[in-house]
Amino acid sequence: MEKLTKDDVHPKILEALLADSNITLEDALENEMILNMGPQHPATHGVLRLLLRLDGETVMGCVPELGYLHRGYEKLAENMNYYEFIPHTDRLDYLSPMSNNVAYALAVEKLVGIEAPPRAQYIRMIISELARVASHLVAIGSLAMDVGALTVFLWTLREREKILDIWDILCGARFTNSYTRIGGVANDAQPEALAKVKWFIDQYLPNLDECERLINTNRIFIERLDGVGVISADDAIDIGLTGPSLRGSGVEFDLRRAQPYLFYNEIDFKVVTYPDGDSLARYFVRADETRESIKIIRQALEKMPQGETLLNQPKKVLPKKTEIYSRMEELIHDFMIVNFGINPEPGEIYHAVESSKGELGFYLVSKGDGKPWKCKIRSPSFVNLQSVPQLVKGHMVSDVVAILGSLDPVMGEADK
């Protein structure tokens, strides 16, 4: 963190920073201080830059500056075919790449008008929930670390490591998975992978309780979060919060329930809400949501049927690699899809899923070509960050760190 002078700050940013005060530009910096937080600050969870206007240690105004990780994925998407974009979705929310893959595949499938076979959909459901658990574990751990409890971080990352091991068996990659395909998944879930999932969900709950015992009764942890960064339900909807941050304000809105995709309508689970709307409530929502995810995974494992994991639709779905090497028809289809794309009929769709951070949506416009005419990513972290100025106002500098941790933004997603 560094103190800035008037000349260091872009005039337009300065104007935004001073928007709600009656002090003039000339004497502003004499009474109050402008503090630069980020983009290299470890507690900003990535390259987020916050400009804080401080009076003493109280935050009077805050202007978030985004774009330090802007890679132009929406422009890239317009210049590649639908299949080629799947690996890029991994790099959006890099803490839960699997659920981004699923979201994108579902969006393209909706645009094309196809549906993956039931077994593939159950696998997708299991991996989205595991991704949610992994992401929430990082969120809980880093929130605790932000307010000074280091042990929790190590313990939750130990649990997350087990999920990464499952990814490793499932698709050969631990971090950027690219496991889903349009019309299914890359390969069937191996029995070893499913056995490991079963093992994981059996041992997870006691371990989570153990982590919670460290902090749930810890007075420092509670007091750093209780009543910090409060947002009411109406304000939360107005500012566009989704996901755990919205449910922490007592709004029972979960896309898995409101607009069921995959087979969530056949699964029994609870939408976790806490009424308080403060940082502590958002933490509780995340912890309880992982419990619900475990419940969902357990039911999905039971209900999962046998069968194909890739749709048989040669004009739209890439055939399996072994078939391309051994059969003429498949080779031709592969050639056509890779070179000319899957050409969905002209139209536009918006498909959103409940990712670990909130509503992750893809807005795709097709003109009938192999490449999308437009691909807009509605990223939950981006929208959730918009609430930061509102949340931090009137709090201390050290609370900014706790509030950011409780919102759990991932800059890969916010900056696209």
């Binding site: 872009h10 337009k12 940013i13 935004a16 928007a19 985004l66 774009g67 802007h70 132009g72 929406e74 422009k75 890239l76 317009e78 210049n79 909706k110 645009l111 008008g113 304000d235 909807i237 107005d238 500012i239 566009g240 989704t242 709004v251 809105f253 409101a258 607009q259 139209g347 536009e348 769709i349 918006y350 959103a352 509503e359 949506g361 807005y363 416009v365 005419w373 437009k374 807009k376 509605r378 981006f382 929208v383 918009q386 900056d415 696209k416």
Partner: protein, 165 residues
Amino acid sequence: MASPKELLEQRLNEKFSGENFIFNEHRNELTVSLDKKNIIAVCKYLKEEPELAFRLCEDITAVDWATRKNRFSVVYHIYSLKMNFRLALKASVDEKDCNIDSVSSVWNTANWHERETFDMYGIHFNNHPDLRRMYMPEEFEYHPLRKDFPLMGIPGSLSLPKNKN
């Protein structure tokens, strides 16, 4: 009970009689095209009418059609928690008159979405409280998601930070 689509169609035509709304459905998603001068009135109505209650604005973006007469479409995705229904609103914006009224007075969240759209497409949002660029640096002159902006970027268009020493 009428379906959300029928209800919307009836209500909008009733309230804004004489206006030309085009209802379009693709893959079970309803899109309403409207004139850009009505955008605030329609959004306000959709949000405040208790039966419709589109309180959550999910996304605002634009599409660059490149060769059409009205080059841009600004697209709003709004959601009604009450009906569990998502609606897309579309308004055309011409390149020569490249502006549309800001809906950030209706939904707070529109602020950043509109900033992003302005940054990427150069569409000006009238009466926006803080219309700065979202991702690109303030000095950047172009709008990268326009179809005439090359994928490789424009050499020299991004200035390096000034050395203070």
